[in-house]
Point group: D3
Chain length 277, copies 6
């Protein structure tokens, strides 16, 4: 589901920075003819994302390496799950190992945390969404990993969605003029979301015709009231410091979307390793 060229570009960058002029250790110590076989193996519990990148890495490192994907993205992994098998010149297996792992561990880390949140809100109707708080250069992959974990993507960037925050409101002279300007100047296929921190702002946003209201850093009770106000008029998105122990209650407050920056800005790599056979 990811554009191949998008992957290939970041893979090329990653190989350039890790391999560059060559893997001097493998070139020096491993005979050119030596063949090998190894398995990408989960060492922890989590959700897989980015497994197809392994193939893209080895295509660039050495097209003679064959990669067999054993589990698809989105699969639940437990310690010992065999993720993918690689076979080919031993030197090349070693040269591509770290870059492949860096991608899969990072993306699976994102998918794993997303899946935990998605599990926690199951049955409530709320969707877990990401933010633009991604590690520079990896946004497309990070957003893909959120989907692999069962989450939904918020706008991808500044160009494909309108989100009017407090500073935009201040500079426009209020919520109403801000929304009106957005309607007048932006493409008619982009919806308008307005950030609100109080119920008064929620009301203003609704009156101005906002399509979505972001309930930012509100307490639970206020969020409940805001949801009631918005019902039938606008979607609601809860945002701001949402943790695993608070997300269920927020979802039960009736919001449509719950956005969590930590899904992508604070990633714990999922432990996966390349074991030789």
């Amino acid at each position: 589901m990811l554009q191949l060229t998008e992957i290939d570009r970041v893979v090329a960058l990653a190989l350039a920075e890790d391999v560059g002029l060559g893997d001097v250790t493998s070139l020096a110590t491993v005979p050119e003819q030596e063949q090998g076989r190894a398995v990408f193996l989960a060492k922890a519990t989590g959700v897989l994302a980015g497994v197809s990148i392994i193939g893209r890495v080895y295509t660039q490192v050495d097209p003679r390496v064959t990669v067999e994907v054993l589990v698809e993205d989105g699969a639940r992994l437990t310690p010992g799950t065999r993720v993918a098998a690689v076979q080919g010149p031993a030197r090349s297996l070693l040269t591509g190992e770290r870059v492949a792992l860096n991608f899969v561990q990072h993306l699976s880390g994102i998918a794993t945390r997303t899946a935990r949140f998605v599990d926690l809100v199951q049955g409530t109707g709320a969707r877990i969404v990401d933010t633009r708080k991604t590690v520079p250069g990896l946004r497309a992959l990070a957003k893909y990993a959120v989907r692999a974990g069962g989450g939904t993507n918020h706008r991808f960037a500044l160009y494909d969605g309108i989100l009017i925050k407090d500073n935009h409101i201040r500079a426009s002279g209020g919520i109403r003029p801000a929304v009106e300007r957005a309607r007048a100047h932006a493409g008619h296929l982009l919806r308008v979301e307005v950030e609100a921190e109080t119920l008064e702002q929620v009301q203003e946003a609704l009156d101005a015709g906002a399509d979505v209201v972001m309930l930012d850093n509100m307490d639970l009770e206020t969020r409940r009231q805001a949801v009631a106000m918005c019902r039938g008029r606008a979607l609601t998105e809860a945002s701001g410091g949402i943790e695993e122990d608070t997300v269920r209650a927020i979802a039960e407050a009736g919001v449509d979307l719950i956005s969590i920056g930590a899904l992508t800005h604070s990633v714990t790599a999922l432990d996966i390793s390349l074991d030789w056979e």
Copy 2:
């Protein structure tokens, strides 16, 4: 200390993915003439890294924005520390905000964790070093952030250091032939490090003339003995699952270097925000 062109390249990538064709919200809602002033403010305790990137981001977004750096990389931050002040067209301040924050939060997250480890081993003589387990595309910046946090860099990539791991050893027919081949084929300015998991392997590595011995996944007592064996003959590097509660004891075992993948592969973004004035 970072190469400007290196930063500029990743900044350009980050802006391309976040801004692309334009920040439709700001373009629509913020008047072109509106000026603004805002401050990058720490919201948590930690160590700063990457502050100069703020300037590089705004140079690309809009050269009319002026950036004043108020604290240097490596500084300890507490909630409320003013990190940098920006001033200029309000639209442009808003457009560059997220990309600037994504960099500084990620890199400061690395520096902060590194500093915690460095503090924990203070006085022992052991150096905290990073690994090649970095988020793809950001290696140079991640390694820089480790230095900002008081750590030291291990080899940058596969091309600037020789680290012979178990698979290289197996493919070469033993530690001795592996080290000899490395000496014969690699440049004479690269040292040779050998991974050892047992004391027998440590002895073999020393006999083969290794410059550095990596003590991988050993228990504390074994590491102590290994250090004793290596004294005066080779540097020692402890590696493998080292946590904040175990690092001090490992350092006191006398190793020269302690490498920690989590410094860069599992980063918790440091909370920094852009507050308008």
Copy 3:
């Protein structure tokens, strides 16, 4: 309002293809010290777009050339209007001339035609919008020129708006499932537009909850009825073979948007020349 880096990239491509290794004629015949002064002059009636590109071209050709913009984008030009004055080394003025003209003539051609349509619908409330039918590589500039001519931009690309056409409908098994899938999978900040060729399809689109209905290739009377059906429920966009002699009646039928591919796919360059003084 255009991103400088976006312009600079296409300007660099254009100079690479036109100048490449050098302007052999000017290098051979014009003395290096020769200075010149020239004016970009309108030779026809129209609307200006892209004047700032002249400066970007000469910055790349030779930073010693100074460019003074005399009229802003969006201005009405008549034969003889002085658009911009350039001054500097004669060789460099000559070398950059053709590339600068190729940009300004093409973009002003787009703005001019857009303005004619905008004038024709004045007072009706209908907005003239563009399409994705642009010359490859120039979309950002072409869309900018439409705005300079008083038009409004439709979605920029396939990623920032959902437009469900007949083939999507067929593949989804109907308008309702197509709209539902779009709602479920796409970001919540993207609106859903559905193409309809009959009133039955208009009704289906409304029932499915479309935000915008495209009235494609309908006759005037059908469009009027469709507008009545959609009022208060969805925006309407007229599309398909709209010409200067039919656009007014369509606008008066009450549609919100009128999209015209010819604005950008069939451009008549506006006659502008560089006259030496």
Copy 4:
């Protein structure tokens, strides 16, 4: 006859600007397994150019799409002519459709107009040639389309031909010194063409040894005399505001070449569409 890499580069740019992070409509509404078959169909009369680009577009979008070219470049099209057939995943057919059409419609528009001029001068011995007035970024393709329409290419750029215009002459101190300098400094494989607006200038150009004389903006009778003067000494090129209703007479005046900027600077896209089967 076009270099593949040249096409691939512009195709990649065009896909980047149109598809970018993905075709959200097709991804959301069209099932991944859905297959499709469609035909590129002429809707108007004209000359085909760029048909091979369809294959290059789909190679980049999705290599599983097969493209069968049914008519070669240069062929005369009438409404209903089947140009190419594509088959494969429905999503991918839809994703690549617009970019493929934008190329083929634009290039066929160039070929069509060129062919009209070529037809008009048939039998006279005059060749229809293009200019450097091309849409930025597409010169190689535009020049190719002129050839597909039966025209001949003038110099490609500033580096592969010497064309001394009035400003070069002024800066050199006359036609003779300009031609002499060109001979002395430029490569010996480049011919020298001189622009002349009067018969005196034609004579000067001949005396200076010009290989080609451009008869710029002359009336018919003057052009006739100029041709007589140049016979056996230099080629002649008519240039300046040549239209379909004047080109025949100019050709009959005996010029060797007739250059027409509008071939490439004012292109009417040829109507071609992708029809599903």
Copy 5:
């Protein structure tokens, strides 16, 4: 006279390969504040070329370094000639040194050998020209250096000149059809040169209307006769294994051009060093 962007691109490549992630020696040993001053000094006799590249290198390495050019390209150097002075942060001076020298030494090597040949044929009217036998990636610079040495450039590449060699002739069925096809298909501003190895071929080339005849690998007497045959009808170019001890006689045989591949394919770097003050 060189396009800045052309230089900057190759300079960036050269710095990427030599500096990459940083000059670890200078970063480690030279204090950040240390300033320095140094001079690019000739250590041998020769002709300078590429001095402006020094400035382009340091602009990219560190814009705080100032570069003062003391001698212009084309100047005769003797041991001790001060070529350029640089001043600024000592680290940066050291980091850019090697790349700057690699360019200037290589290009001055080309200019020096060219000048020797030019001196040898002085007064004969023959021009020394280069070939396409250049080190990959440096053609524009190599051709520039030939000019700095007093030589003239042959065609730059395959696209800006027609040179029909024996294999083209064979594939075309003879010199006449080859020349006719070239005339018919190539742009009218490109001349046609034909390679001849015998006087019969010279005659055929003349009869076919060649503009230039290449006298390839002929002995002196044959070249003399060929020149006589071509006089007034075509330019003549001597080619093939021409050395310093044979070039004068060949020039005196009356050829217009003498092409020498060794000017650019076998370059002896001119000894220039960076001396600290």
Copy 6:
């Protein structure tokens, strides 16, 4: 042993500069269907390097060309040795010929000279190494060619080895502080080499713990004494103006490494041609 992407990048650059928009001669004179077969043939005695690049060139020019490598890199060539055979469309064979030859002749020139030096020191234990004095843009290939000739690579660039020269020493306040800083700040896998011009400096370098001492521009006797001082404590590298007639004596003085800039900065292309069959 060379990274394919590295080769492909420089090959693409070389083709862009030599072929660009097309080989007008071949396109005009050689019929599209014409097939050909030709052989890359040595015309001189030497050592082959870069033969695999022939295949990479033709892959980019026209994938229908088949390339059969007949001799491997490192092989000794004599006049008449068949190096590689190519077969395919005649036009494409001609179009790629020059670029392929430029690479192979240059790299074989490097390998040939390297092999001469390697032969001269045979049996002494000294290794011939290269320097960073390479033609800009070709370092990876140049270093590869040195290996093909039997030489060994010194550090690749400024980032993979520490070499403290006189200017670093001066700026650091002496050899000892320079070496200590290098040890403290640089990665622990990089060795430290120190340049010495006198025996006093050799002693200082040893005392400071240098891993390698460069004996720069010393006379033979001084080098002998330096070698004696360093034995068992540091490697020694002779450097500075070493020629074919002096290298043997230097090697016999007992140095470990002999570095020669001329291997790569002053290359005589090895004569190889493409002969048609």
